[in-house]
Amino acid sequence: MLVLVTYDVQTYTNGGKKRLRKVAKKCEEYGVRVQNSVFECIVDSTQLRQLEIALEEIIDPSVDSLRYYRLGNNHEAKVKHVGAKPAIKVDKPLIF
């Protein structure tokens, strides 16, 4: 299924900047970065759970937040892109 992961990490402190980098890195393992703090991940439920656990270990729940949008398996019609930087679709032919 396609899951949209977005996060908001407070970066006033050095610790916050570190958390932001760690969160981004973890998300990059699982999906494709489509905007600055937005990732599209094609994962199964186990992989999603693993990602959730990993991210929850990184963030500071009192100031940071995470949001997961499950878009299911038929996600084609649910996503529309306008403007620059179209993202790679990992379930379409990948030819470079």
Partner: protein, 343 residues
């Protein structure tokens, strides 16, 4: 059922494949042009002279992603294999059967029957759909002959004889193959099968499709724990994935040939897509190869109902399913290897 993941094809020269996080990172002159999470990938195929970092290779082996190298003209060069998975008992059984002519012939026979049957079906479909445009008599004669060889094959216990039957059937089949080409006949004509190098556009397309199919079959076999180098019909030869060629026999016409005919008849490929080299070899242009791969990848996602499993699966999984059925036969769970027979 196993899920079919995506395959990444890298056909552009001067591309470097690296690992970043758990992503495949495609670098072009040190600049990242694409990053793809490895858990979405089943296989990586590269064409030309791409390099790959050891870190990426390590991760591919760990996650059982096949990494295959082809020459820029599409000929198979090599494949990355990690630790062999699956169980030893299964592989030992495979080796024992492969050493025994009679046991080998039992499996090979079914593969040949599958191959001939599927070739017949392809020709029958041409007759059925385009009776007014093709030489029906000639095709029907060949279909009759194929049927006869299928009957002979089903009672044959001798490997050499089987190879003879197979060779005969193949040349019969190829003798009318050109009838199934309905469009662009001035460019795409077929007299006989030739390879190394292919000498006309149709042979170039067939060769390319066969080499893709061979690498997919080899990966599928390794995936179920079989040794893709030890075959039953094809004997052992260093560096040849004999078992992959074995299970490919029945898939050639239904996957590769059908696909090649489709893209010719739909005019998705045309005369400008080929280059003739000095040694008369005909190869695809870079652009055409990309189109080819794009269509091939799309085709793999089309669903079929597997006639034996009665389950709906994408085309691309067929080699995996056949590998699985072969493993089941070797384990003794099935009393014969069931080739895929597509109507």
């Amino acid at each position: 059922m196993k899920q079919l993941l995506n395959t990444v094809y890298v056909s552009e020269p001067d591309m470097y494949l690296a690992l970043k996080g758990k992503n495949l990172n495609l670098l072009k002159t040190n600049e990242s042009i694409a990053r793809i999470p490895l858990h979405n990938i089943e296989a990586i195929c590269t064409f030309g002279h791409q390099g790959a970092s050891p870190a990426l290779m390590g991760e591919c082996m760990k996650q059982n992603i096949s990494l295959t190298f082809f020459t820029s003209s599409g000929r198979f060069r090599g494949r990355l294999t990690g630790e062999t998975n699956g169980n030893v008992a299964l592989r030992k059984k495979q080796y024992r059967l492969s050493d025994n002519e009679e046991d080998s012939s039992k499996i090979a026979r079914h593969m040949i029957i599958g191959k001939i049957f599927n070739s017949e079906q392809l020709l029958k479909r041409t007759v059925r759909d385009h009776a007014l445009r093709v030489d029906v008599n000639r095709i029907n004669q060949v279909i009759d002959r194929l049927q006869e060889s299928r009957i002979v094959a089903s009672e044959c216990n001798d490997l050499d004889e089987l190879r003879g039957i197979e060779g005969n059937a193949a040349s019969n089949y190829y003798s009318v193959f050109t009838e199934s080409i309905l469009q662009q006949k001035d460019v795409f004509f077929f007299h006989e099968r030739n390879r190394r190098p292919p000498l006309d556009p149709v042979n170039a397309l067939l060769s390319f499709a066969y080499s893709l199919l061979a690498s997919e079959s080899a990966a599928a076999l390794e995936g179920v724990g079989l040794d893709s180098y030890v075959g039953f019909l094809h004997r052992d030869r260093p560096g040849r994935t004999s078992l992959a060629l074995d299970i490919m026999e029945e898939l050639r016409s239904i996957i590769a040939d059908r696909f090649v005919l489709k893209i010719i008849n739909r005019k998705q490929i045309s005369s400008k897509d080929f280059i003739v080299k000095e040694n008369k070899a005909v190869i695809l242009t870079d652009e055409a190869r990309r189109t080819f791969l794009q269509l091939w990848q799309k085709e793999k996602q089309e669903d079929i109902t597997h006639p034996y499993l009665k389950e709906k699966i994408p085309w691309g999984l067929v080699p995996h399913v056949q590998a699985l059925l072969l493993a089941r036969y070797l384990r003794g769970d099935l009393d014969a290897y069931p080739p895929i027979l597509i109507r």
